[in-house]
């Protein structure tokens, strides 16, 4: 099982703990990765506000590179996944548009044929590794832990671009993973809502209010931790949780874990390799409840 690995900007930027966690979990699961070092940022929906064609061209370039490698793409960010999936759909739906974009790529000797597969690690775990197979890797079940899923908008909406019709299991893939790892799923209204990150620099009050709503909701229902497949959500839910607590004049203290970190923990991997010491919200109390290898 081999993928062209698109790590995204944040896994080596604002969330440097994500990249090693994802890579080591993949290694343990026998997922071979070839890093797409030359691939550009997806635009994250921001570039697309200004120029959608430009964003689509950059993503078509990445798709063409993966096609040339003969590999499907693996992402580890809901936003990268969603942005690529949307670009993929626009190109697939309009041959003339794709031909125009290919003209730009031709300068570089690239051509996108329209056949790339782009999958988040979350979907790979459920669809390609398989839940039963994943279960066989679990050495340290997260029994007794209550974990709240937080998807990130781009990996669940719009469903038409994300292949939910062919893969209805994607709708609750995160809950399935949490269960397989031995933890209990906390169901709460916020799991599919917005974390607030996209408006952080525009309207911090609103952005932080979203962090407060979701973390307090989950905490109120007994969550010991929240897990997300999106590093941008992580930046807000973890990094701005102290501000959210201050806004509500309360304490929250809810550890926010990246998807590969929680999988790695259940596979008995070293929390330091998983970068669990690099979060703003301490994971110490949580780790003391998981019987991990030294």
């Amino acid at each position: 099982m081999k993928y062209a690995f698109f790590p995204g900007c944040v896994s080596r930027g604002g969330c440097p703990e994500l990249y090693p966690a994802a890579v080591s979990v993949c290694e343990r699961l026998g997922i071979e990765l070839e890093v797409m070092e030359g691939a550009a940022c997806t635009g994250a929906g921001v570039l697309q506000e200004k120029n959608q064609r430009l964003g689509d061209t950059l993503n078509a370039r990445t798709f063409a590179m993966a096609e040339a490698m003969g590999l499907p793409i693996m992402t580890i960010c809901s936003t990268c996944q969603g942005t690529m999936s949307q670009a993929h759909k626009r190109l697939a739906d309009d041959c003339a548009y794709m031909a125009e974009i290919n003209q730009v790529l031709a300068e570089e000797g690239l051509e996108y044929k329209g056949e790339v597969v782009v999958k988040h690690l979350l979907w790979i775990l459920v669809e390609d590794i398989g839940l039963d197979n994943l279960r066989s890797y679990i050495t340290t079940p997260l029994a007794g832990l209550k974990v709240a899923p937080f998807y990130g908008c781009y990996i669940i909406r719009p469903t038409g671009a994300l292949g939910f019709e062919e893969h209805p299991e994607r709708e609750d893939s995160l809950e399935k993973i949490i269960e397989i790892l031995g933890a209990e799923v906390v169901q709460y209204a916020g799991k599919t809502r917005c974390c607030g990150f996209p408006i952080l620099t525009i309207n911090e009050r609103n952005s932080v209010a979203m962090v407060a709503n979701h973390t307090l909701d989950a905490k109120g229902l007994g969550a010991d931790a929240m897990v997300t497949p999106c590093p941008l959500c992580h930046l807000n839910l973890d990094g701005f949780q102290p501000k959210a607590a201050a806004q509500r004049r309360t304490t929250i203290d809810l550890p926010i874990l990246h998807l590969p970190q929680v999988v790695g923990l259940a596979m008995g991997m070293d929390p330091k390799v998983m970068g669990l010491n690099r979060h703003i919200m301490s994971t110490k109390k949580l780790l003391s409840r998981v019987a991990v290898e030294a």
């Binding site: 930027g13 120029n51 370039r61 908008c153 909406r157 979203m210 990094g239």
Partner: protein, 317 residues
Amino acid sequence: MEVSLNVKRFDPESNAQGPHFQEYNLDVEEYFTVLDALIKVREEMDGSLALRCSCRASICGSCSMRVNGHAKLVCKTKVRDVVNHDHRVTVEPMNNLPVVKDLVTDMEPFWDKVRAIQPWLQPYGTVPEKEYIAPNETMLHLAGVMSCIMCGACVSDCTALEVDKNFIGPAALAKAYRFVGDPRDDAGIDRLRMYGQSGGIWDCTRCMECVQVCPKGVAPMERIMGLRDKAIEAGLSNNNGARHTEAFSELVKHSGRLDELRLPIKTFGIFNFPALIGLLPVGLRALRKGKMPPIIHKSIPGVERVRRIFEKVESKK
């Protein structure tokens, strides 16, 4: 088919109970919509259930409600498509709007916001003798947004409205796009200035809830992005939203990937000391935990190819 309708009830005239759920077990036909089932409840089981509907053909936009947590026109939603494995369906009134009774919401705040964007054509200059003529091709891009039936589904599920009632919201902003994009309207720049204020286009979170729930394919968020694009094009970029978009674009063009350290600095402006000082505690906490983007930001290999794409595609716009 047996179904259990879990309906959120609220009667403002009853002091006995606040909002609560009531379950109705009934037998429905395979072809029943959620609206058919609710009407059956009202006519055969509980005449006190309040709901609003009119055309029953997804044209009038009266019957938006939340079904299993998401806004839908219940006349367009088949029961069999939304029942879960134990035959339950949860029906609640729309979110982000005051509840009048049970499933009926007060649409006044919705209409107030639509009125606030000045939803009428404002042509300047001489009035033509007959009608204003617009070439067909200049109106085509408005066909989608003109399909809006003002049902309020997008407003119900808007995540920005959930935390800020002042946000003008997806329905009103989609309507705003309809006038900015109309070749017969001449108030474009004034409109964009108005829509760019606090509570306007830059407060949208881009969460795509409105795109997902709109029963008519209006895709309000994409219209809001269209308005942002037009605002930047018109030079209305002296705000954090526009600067963020511009800075993001410049940084990706420069190195092929995002430089997260420079993005907030470029967004707020290097001399915007209050905003930058506000970020200090967050930055220091991140630094202490080793959760910082690298100070020396490396470009991706072959970044000149990416720059070339930027130049080529941007010059075409």
